[in-house]
């Protein structure tokens, strides 16, 4: 595939790149930390001796949020990230690319079925720690993790915001950031999605968060939003 690549450009965000193909298409990508391994069948690109992995915005809500105008990405090189709802490791693998070996990604996931795949991803990434545990009970993994600069929450649960807040109290450093992917349909199907986003953001404000941005992820994910908030 490397023939069809024109250039790889830096974006304004650390360790996130844009692959520009000859035919003019532009895709987000990250430097592959586990060279030669892909995670979900994504395309890889070699440019100037570096391997990049395409970052599909339809598969990863963080990529979707970036394309939809996320102002600041709290996930940087060297960040420690606590990731709730790591699933089979699609987004965690890209976060693992971004934070590189200096950073750590603690991926908590409750479903044994997908943890099986998460483990396979983690095997080639020594900065990704897969943890099979229930995010409702932070005590059950508190002796495996450390405090993080970023709490990333993507768990489709009706009380997901409360779970995020509860975990932030445990593990989020002062001034750290919360990235909360809200699935309106799993909070209340009967309500209008924008209304759900509003009430959830309000909840965060009342609990001492400074909500910086609410991004509607349409068309990448219907009825989803990404909230960026700072923990005071």
């Amino acid at each position: 595939m490397s023939e069809s690549i024109e250039t790889v450009k830096e974006t304004g965000m650390e360790n996130i790149y844009e692959c520009i193909y000859v035919d003019g298409t532009v895709r987000l990508c990250t430097k592959n930390l586990a060279k030669g391994f892909t995670v979900y069948g994504e395309r890889t690109v070699n440019y100037n001796g570096v391997e990049y992995r395409e970052w599909n915005a339809f598969r990863s809500k963080l990529a979707g949020a970036i394309l939809k105008g996320l102002k600041e990405n709290p996930v940087k090189k060297g960040s420690k990230v606590l990731y709730l709802g790591a699933a089979s490791g699609t987004t965690p693998s890209h976060i693992s690319d971004i934070v590189e070996d200096e950073g750590k990604v603690y991926g908590v996931e409750f479903s044994p079925r997908v943890v099986r795949e998460l483990i396979l991803v983690a095997q080639h990434r020594h900065n990704l720690f897969p943890i099979l545990a229930d995010a409702r009970f932070p005590q059950s993994y508190s002796s495996l993790v450390e405090d993080a600069e970023v709490l990333y929450v993507d768990i489709a649960q009706p009380d997901q915001t409360d779970i995020a807040i509860y975990n932030a109290r445990y593990f989020l450093k002062e001034g750290g950031h919360l990235l909360l992917a809200i699935k309106a349909r799993s909070i209340d199907v009967t309500k209008d999605p924008t209304e759900v986003f509003k009430t959830e953001a309000e909840k965060l404000k009342n609990e001492g968060f400074d909500v910086q941005q609410v991004i509607n992820l349409n068309p990448y994910d219907k009825d989803h939003a990404m909230v960026l908030a700072r923990f005071k």
């Binding site: 750590k104 720690f129 059950s140 495996l144 405090d147 109290r169």
Partner: protein, 408 residues
Amino acid sequence: MRIYLAEHTIGSFAFDESGNLLDYVLNPKELGKVVDILINTEKGEPMPSTVELIQKLKPTEVVIESETESAKMQSLGIKVVSKPHHVGAKVLRSSLAEIAVKAKFAEDPKDIYSFLYQVTLEYTRRKLRKAAQKRDLLAIQAIRAIDDIDKTINLFSERLREWYSIHFPEADKLVEDHDQYAKIVSNIGYRDAVTVEALTEIGLNEQKAKKLADAAKKSIGADISDADINSIRDLANTILSLFRLRASLYDYLDSIMREVSPNVTELVGPTLGARLLSLAGSLEELSKMPASTIQVLGAEKALFRALKSGSRPPKHGIIFQYPAIHVSPRWQRGKIARALAAKLAIASRIDAYSGRFVGTQLVEQVNKRIEEIKTKYAQPPPKKQQPPREEGKKDRREHKKGKKGKRR
């Protein structure tokens, strides 16, 4: 003295109330042992390093993070208070690598993280193995396989009927059973060989066999060659072997369901029982569901439509397959479904957590209630006056009635 105690993979650490490290005891730096310790803490067993630390410091009061351990710790004869994310835990977790190096658990941060990585992987693998050992997952896969086979049998049988009808079109209408039809094609084949004797041999009754043999003689179908009939036969044989596979899977499902979920199986049989497990995800998940959810499992589409539009909610989901529900008159079904769902909730909880067998009592109680419903509500309720409909607002149920959306 009051200490703030924080446990981590690397060991137990005691802090004072302003977050200064008082003392610590390290865990052994061995993968297997540490994972054992971690798994035990989840069951409420304090780490051995914690016990050692407490005996060393002899505090009057200990503040810990996890409530689950407080009972066992109190048995050491000290006052225990549980307070999530207390100062000590915060200090430990925010400068973990630093503390680990200072405590000489590791030479440098790289060392500690690579150990932590190994521990996490092993810990998760071990928990995964435990989860995979749950036998209910096998039952779920078995029922899904049976459903897949049923679909395939239907698909193949439709094709077989179309194909064989070129030669013997009359058989399609006369033999409704797929199994029997495939047997005729496979064992007899040519229309000319269709005789009463041949048919009774594969299990048709005399009357039907006669009808069919008659039709064969007067058939309007085309003549075909050996090569043609052989290909059609191959397909029929595949269908027959799928029927055999289905039967053996059913036996397997029956035995495994009686093992993992005896009460649910007694109540609704292995097939429906396994379908409920399949929809819930696992026995444990099913046991955590309220009866009202069990009642409409499998009717999610109808349920959410009702929640959204305010139309009438479904009365039953997959439990519609329970004979007493679908053979009863319409107005009794909801009541029976409710009663059955309530007993299913009880049965699944006993199956998941105690394993006692109370199936026979539950069946008795359900049957009694069904009897009661049948006598009490023998007549259909009087038709309610329809409220005048708003202009332009169409009742969403109306045009969907034909599609059996909530049934499987």
